[in-house]
């Protein structure tokens, strides 16, 4: 199907059946991809975007899980702060781009801050949901077996909430990639996002398509990587939800 579409597209553009200005044929895109790869520029940009995404996601996940466990376990903390989180979460992270630009300037710091900020939310919300939906019996089991508070969190609460947490981690990973690209497009002059904008300014539509496709492939690859590591690290019955598309 994908192949058939590409062939159709090539034919249409080649024979000028459909003439849209700046629409490159797939063969032109392939040539542009080869050039970009040969120059090493493409790989460098991929490495940058991938690095920032994973680093930011890692930090966001740590903060999100820790805060989520606290809010999920302590009714007091939940009561006295949840609305604040709900309200703040409602503000689309994209709107913070200008604020981040003002405060941090055109820098890697700005990109990283944005990625971390956006990535925290799905992890936090899913962790809270996971912890709060644990069957009350399971909490009683922890008390009845006289596990300490720390033991209960480590051995009962965390594993029970893990499927929900993993869903949050997966959502966060896609979001972190998007935010990294946005930040690169408007702020930090590096990575795939910046590549897109430069290609646009140089009026190289074929190269733009290369970057768009690379961005899509990165998304697919990150997702697959997360699923594979979840499957490798966790027992089979926990990963059902993550393995689902």
């Amino acid at each position: 199907m994908l192949l058939a579409l590409a062939v159709l597209w090539e034919v249409l553009v080649r024979f000028k059946v459909a003439e849209i200005q700046f629409l490159p044929a797939p063969s032109e895109i392939a040539t542009a991809a080869q050039d970009a790869l040969a120059g090493g520029e493409l790989l460098g940009r991929i490495a940058h975007t991938l690095g920032v995404t994973i680093l930011g996601w890692g930090i966001a996940s740590t903060i999100g899980v820790a805060l989520g466990l606290l809010l999920g376990l302590s009714p007091l903390a939940y009561r006295y702060s949840m609305t604040s989180f709900e309200v703040t979460r409602a503000i689309p992270p994209i709107t913070f781009v200008p604020a981040a630009l003002l405060v941090f300037g055109f820098s890697l710091k700005m990109e990283l801050v944005l990625v971390i900020y956006g990535g925290i939310w799905p992890v936090l919300i899913n962790t809270i949901g996971g912890v709060r939906s644990i069957a009350p019996e399971l909490r009683d089991v922890g008390r009845m077996l006289r596990l300490s508070r720390l033991e209960t969190i480590r051995k009962v609460v965390f594993p029970a909430a893990l499927p929900a947490i993993l869903v949050g981690l997966r959502l966060a990973l896609s979001l972190c990639l998007v935010l990294a690209i946005v930040a690169e497009m408007v702020g930090n002059p590096a990575g795939i996002g910046n590549g897109l904008i430069s290609a646009r300014q140089a009026l190289q539509p074929a190269l733009m398509f290369v970057y768009v496709i690379v961005a899509g492939l990165l998304g697919v690859a990150l997702n697959a990587g997360l699923r594979a590591s979840a499957r490798a690290l966790l027992p089979g019955n926990v990963v059902k939800d993550v393995a689902a598309p």
Binding site: A135, L138, L145, L147, E151, L234, N237
Partner: protein, 258 residues
Amino acid sequence: MANDPSYECRGLRADVGSRRGPRRLVLDDVSFEIAKGEFVSIMGRSGVGKTTLLRTLAGLHEASAGSVVRFDGQPVSGPPDGVSLVFQDYTSSLLPWRTVAKNVELPLEGRLPTEERRSRVAEALKMVGLADRSDAQPHELSGGMQQRVQIARALASQPAALLMDEPFGALDALTKADLEDQLLEIFAATGTTVVFVTHDIEEAVYLSDRVLVLDGTPAQIVAEIPVASPRPRTQMLTRESSEFLEARHRVHEVIFGT
């Protein structure tokens, strides 16, 4: 010393809160004693407060001020040492990410050396007839087997008292009969005190030395019926004996009023 009770309740009151509305008094002035090594069933209509009573004995539910609840002479506040609880809902009380053996080992972790933990787990699993399934995941087992795992987990800490909340309520009749007999064997072998909540008259009479009947709102103990059938008991002979039939008749009378 042997005459010291395992559990002692005097004037026990307990209320439960619901999300909407005020707290509701479910138990009022409940008093009884349970001797060490005794098997006592608590019966009553559903919603009467059996589970609240059991949770209070387990230290999971706090009794109202002025109530006396003692286990082994000590007032109960929080789950006491030496008491294990078996929940009705085995699916949500086993940890699905742990194997059978790891589930049974949970209460022993950090308390006993590895070698001793292993032998305790093996012993407990052998008692419930699951020695060969120790590496299985809970979801691979039938309901009856999962409930056995929960019982093994309760036994692993070698409890002085075993509290059971309608443990066989969700099982089919044949599995239930099997597990009842197994429980009687365990009871005979370990000499532990058992407090057993059920709404099945036959089951209560078959297993117990004594049946306590809760009734009313708030509930009180309205009858205490001893079961004279000798042990060891067997499904067929015991259920046909005159002692069994007489006790069953009396429990029926108390609950249904005829």
